[in-house]
Amino acid sequence: MNATTAEATTAEVEVQSPLAHLSEAQLEELAREFDAIRDRVHAELGDRDRRYIESMIAMQRRLAVVSRVLLLGARYRPAQVAGTAALSMAKILENMEIGHNVLHGQWDWMNDPQINSSTWDWDTASTAEAWKHSHNYVHHTFTNILGKDKDLGYEIMRIDPQQKWHPVYLFQPLYNLLLMAFFEWGVALHDLDFEAIRKGHKSKAQVKREVAGIVGKAKSQIVKDYVAWPLLSGLAAAALDAATETRRGGATRRGRRRRGGLAGVLRSALASGRGSYSAAAKANASANIIRNVWAYAIIFCGHFPDQTYTFSPEEVEDESRGGWYVRQLAGAANIEGSPLFHVASGNLGYQVEHHLFPDLPSTRYAEIAPQVKQICERYGLPYNSGPFGQQLGMVQRTILRLAFPGGSVRPKPGPYRGEDHAAL
């Protein structure tokens, strides 16, 4: 407790607006520098980028097909395990590197009618339309502004000490776990924006349409993952069973009779079918949950680790474009990892770059990261980053601590001082 108090005092001294030391002119110059990065990348976009997203999509779809085929044999343990792993990966890629990024309009420059933010739909509970509003617009415009960025704790969690405590937050460690497992449903409900509904900011017709959208998405996911594919798996197992039983019974009528005749064959086939159905349904449920947990982890690490700054509405009044860039930069945190990690996380490990340029193709974030770091160094700005385990640990610690009243703003790493000083 003593340590926390000591930390709190130093924290309160240290935490001041990351842009306080910059003049209007410096902010303007900063905005020009960031604009220049975006313009440079935009001018370069071409075949290489198109080939990347097309092959990513093709690979993801092949992986999905392979996983579904494996799960036709779901009652065999190795097929079930391999199928679940492949399906989880397919779902993760579909949501993160493909869906999230296509819906951001990152690939709209190709003018492709399919790979386009206006026509894309994804395998999750949120409708594309609701997501584009709550995420692309609300979250990416009002990033980390207390009370305005509804992704700051998703309105059910206290993840910043400046959020007022309420007894309900005592349960937040528990519903944190539930949110982790059922993240897509949490996000879909969050998109509805209950506060706006309560305050009457949404017409009844709009609420009705949005709820119908979620119900529609829920229905099609349930039919696909818990009815149609498991049914195919069951039918495949039953057919195989019937065929082998008939053959094993021998060609002779006597052999078949000994094994219980046609009824026996059917009974046995039905039993294998049922077993296969439930094995496939379980595999699909696991894949959905694995995808949810992964998405939760990556997204929570984007804005809730200790290094990130939050802003009060007063602080951002009359914000300049330079100020907006600084807020994006200071409000996000990167996750360090291998290239495979970055693809699986939809390149959201480059959360800082993504927030500066949400509509640049994700593959370009790694390329511009050194330029962004260099700007941070020159302007004395933070560049938040850390390994996955550390970032996730900080987030979980905050969720536990802030379930209780009080809590203090965590110390910030301060201005970025180059690779050699990167460690906190």
């Binding site: 071409g46 075949d47 190709m110 003018n111 026509t119 990416h140 949400p358």
Partner: protein, 365 residues
């Protein structure tokens, strides 16, 4: 939504089968997976594979395309919107179909001529290869051969203006319905005559077809005054004229003055663009879906101008990042207020919050 190809003529049984298994693939379609095997199997939009590319002149080629599904047909003289990917970006252009609809192999052809400053024609003329897949849009155009064909016809073409007339000629030739046709075609020199070979073949095999080649490098341009000599009965013929604007204007004046304007049909490839858009001049915006008309000066985004005129438009960040406000550009050009760059082609998705019109535009919002 970006422009896509025409809806293909898919056999009903196949459509039903695909619909039946849809729930296995949601939110995608079976199509999304089948396209991985063969992009021509898309039932969402008609695509075609380039079968052959034949050089007609040093700067024009005929591209023979096999549509993925049965060709719904066209009327000789019509044009087709065709979508190709160049440097990662989809571009759409209209080209006259140069094939006759009755081709037994079901293929279609276009004959683009190189425009050095363009994007699509350099791709088709220089880089496209047999096997490449293109998107096939709708067939349009009112410059068509009447059915039944006229007994006496006069075709006047110049340069690549011959393309729609070629489809008409081929159709007549295949149906042995040439009747009485006079064809006056202008090109700079022998080498520049597109379809020289087939024109000669029709000339020699169809007694009713008479070709006059006007080589403008040597003989000068075709003047309206030449017509009385080249085709004395031009006033009695159903005339089809296709070529540069100056020629069309001259012929139109001639028919107006001396002939029967009803008997003259013309193909203008370049739509008449009103006014000369200058540096950052703004312009009028027509919102196609709501019917609202607005006027934006050079610094006013389309979104703001529209809202001021009373349109309800989608918007989000209002700073060019979230793509909530995008609308399809139907025609005209826009200026990116952030870069000052003028851009925009038909079917392009435009962010209304950071673009101002550059001259009059229409947008599908």
């Amino acid at each position: 939504m970006a422009e896509r190809g025409a809806t293909p003529q898919v056999p009903a049984l196949r459509r039903r089968a695909l619909r039946a298994v849809r729930s296995l693939f949601t939110p995608l379609l079976p199509d999304d997976y089948l396209e991985l095997i063969n992009p021509l199997w898309s039932t969402r939009e008609l695509r075609g594979r380039i079968e052959r590319i034949d050089r007609e002149t040093p700067d024009a080629v005929t591209v023979l395309i096999r549509p993925g599904f049965e060709w719904t047909g066209h009327r000789p003289g019509q044009y087709l919107r065709i979508g190709v990917v160049v440097d990662g970006v989809h571009h759409w252009r209209a080209y006259s179909l140069t094939s006759e609809p009755e081709r037994p192999d079901g293929c279609i052809s276009i004959t683009p001529k190189l425009v050095e400053t363009g994007v699509v024609s350099p791709y088709l003329v220089r880089r496209a290869r047999p096997g490449d897949v293109v998107r096939l849009g709708g067939v349009e155009g009112t410059f068509v051969l009447p059915d039944p064909p006229p007994e006496k016809a006069l075709f006047i073409s110049a340069g690549s203006g011959i393309t729609p007339i070629m489809s008409m000629l081929r159709s007549l030739h295949r149906g042995d319905a040439v009747g009485d046709v006079v064809h006056i075609h202008s090109a700079r020199d022998e080498e520049g005559v597109i379809f020289a070979e087939i024109l000669r073949e029709i000339d020699s095999s169809q007694p009713g077809y008479r070709l006059h080649l006007q080589l403008t490098g040597r003989q000068g341009r075709l003047a309206p005054g030449n017509l009385d000599e080249l085709c004395p009965d031009w006033r009695q013929r159903q005339a089809f004229v296709s070529g540069p604007a100056a020629m069309l204007d001259a012929m139109s004046d001639l028919w107006q003055a001396e002939g029967d304007r009803e008997l003259l049909q013309m193909e203008r490839f370049q739509p008449v663009i009103g006014g000369e858009p200058g540096e950052g001049e703004g312009g009028a915006v027509r919102f196609a879906k709501s019917g609202v008309e607005a006027r934006c000066d050079s610094g006013t985004p389309i979104l703001v101008g529209g809202e001021e005129a009373g349109a309800t438009l989608p918007f989000g960040c209002r700073m060019g990042i979230c793509h909530t406000c995008v609308g399809k550009l139907c025609n005209g050009k826009v200026r990116d207020l952030r870069t000052g760059k003028v851009h925009g082609s038909e079917g392009e998705m435009i962010r209304t919050c950071v673009n101002a019109p550059e001259g009059p535009i229409e947008i599908a919002l």
